[in-house]
């Protein structure tokens, strides 16, 4: 079953055309890598897919409203603890999820004091622990240490086993080759 279908997508910013006649489809349970150089339109396409920006033309159909998303860049509030931040987006939390990301100690710590890697982990947690059908990741490995990369890859493998649909954009597809069903080149 096609869960995402996009046809003849076009998007330009001022006079610069970022996406032109772009077609894409994803079946339920597929793991798809979006690869391409900077400015190839990966982020633009993902944002359009999520309804965060409007395509100039083309047709788009997303047959799920249970979506989790990790943006490429994110601005965190300073005076909020990790636990309070996650409570904004997750229905339930447990000690185990903090432990597996190495953030048990940081649970009650204000996010203004977090390193880049810790913030990225928080961003991944709000998506990976959400009850979604489609998971969209935009450059998710940015700032992660080796242990966290390993945890993330294990989590992705678990999502794949559960039959979730995963869309992941990256500059470095090597990490995900074993998990991906397809790779879509952009640009």
């Amino acid at each position: 079953m096609k869960i995402i279908e996009a046809r003849n997508i076009r998007k330009s910013f001022r006079r610069e055309v970022v996406l032109k006649d772009f077609d894409f489809e994803a079946r339920k349970g597929e793991f798809i890598l979006l690869v391409g150089a900077n400015g190839s339109g990966k982020t633009t396409f993902l944002k359009g897919l999520l309804g965060l920006l409007r395509f100039d033309s083309g047709s788009l159909s997303v047959r799920s409203n249970k979506i989790a998303y990790v943006p490429e860049r994110f601005f965190f509030p300073e005076f909020i603890t990790l636990e309070s931040f996650l409570k904004l987006f997750l229905e339930k939390m447990d000690q185990e999820m903090f432990r597996e990301w190495g953030l048990s100690e940081a649970r009650k710590k204000e996010m203004g004091k977090f390193s880049k890697g810790m913030r990225q982990k928080a961003l991944l947690m709000q998506a990976l622990h959400a009850d979604a059908e489609v998971y969209v990741f935009d450059e998710p490995m940015s700032g992660l240490d080796e242990a966290a990369k390993e945890t993330f890859l294990n989590k992705l493998a678990a999502l794949k086993n559960e039959g979730k649909t995963v869309l992941l954009s990256t500059h470095n597809p090597e990490h995900f080759r074993m998990l991906a069903d397809r790779t879509v080149g952009m640009g």
Partner: protein, 229 residues
């Protein structure tokens, strides 16, 4: 929706905003003190009370307008509003997000003016023998602050640049100058860019300004719904 409100609050109470709030309150207190120290002890207490209010309120008008313009514009800047993306993908509507944020920011401006009013009360009690505060102008100042906050937000959304906050502030100051003279231009200008009359803290067009405030809010909503995240 409770979570959305909580997120708005978390993103409003940033280090930058709290620092600005602190310095603005400090500046106000210094201004109120200056107004108090400039009073003539030989003058009638009733007149001194009026002079103190007029001098304090002049400074407060500028501070309140600028704070409101900055707060609304900054809160909806691309960076400060980016968390909305995580709510939108979870099914929160853009209009729901917009209005809930407007509510939080409007309440923030209420708190700000309450703090300013408290400073006015404290300064008045210190510097005046028989202090009799004026409260009603502060309520009108709230509506004026909201109007310029919405105007700042509209400029920011149109120009997509936080530095555009300077434009509504210039329009605000121009309004203060224009209101010194009567005429048709003053009437027209006040319709679009309201300000207090030069001799008393009242509006020229009364309740018509509320209609303009509501229109400006809806215009901002339209801009917000049209913009890309």
């Amino acid at each position: 929706m409770r979570k959305v409100f909580r997120a708005h609050l978390a993103y409003l109470l940033t280090k930058t905003n709290l620092l600005i709030l602190f310095f603005v309150l400090l500046l106000s207190f210094l201004g109120f003190s200056e107004a108090g120290l400039a009073l003539d002890a030989e003058e009638l207490p009733r007149m001194n009370n009026l002079y103190f209010f007029e001098n304090s309120f002049f400074l407060l008008k500028l501070i309140a307008a600028f704070t409101s313009i900055f707060t609304f514009s900054h809160a909806f800047s691309k960076r400060s509003d980016q968390y909305s993306e995580l709510f939108f993908v979870r099914g929160v509507s853009r209009s729901g997000h917009f209005f809930s944020k407007i509510i939080i920011l409007s309440v923030y401006v209420v708190y700000f003016l309450l703090l300013e009013f408290a400073l006015y009360l404290v300064s008045g009690s210190i510097f005046l023998e028989r202090f009799s505060p004026y409260a009603r102008p502060f309520i009108r100042l709230y509506w004026l602050s909201l109007y310029y906050g919405f105007l700042g937000l509209a400029f920011m959304q149109i120009f997509k640049n936080i530095y555009s906050v300077i434009l509504p502030f210039i329009l605000f100051i121009a309004g203060m100058i224009i209101n010194e003279n009567e005429g048709k231009f003053r009437s027209f200008y006040n319709l679009l860019f309201p300000n207090f009359l030069s001799d008393k803290p009242e509006f020229l067009h009364g309740w018509l300004h509320m209609l303009m405030l509501a229109s400006l809010l809806l215009f901002n909503l339209w801009l917000y719904l049209s913009r890309d995240s």
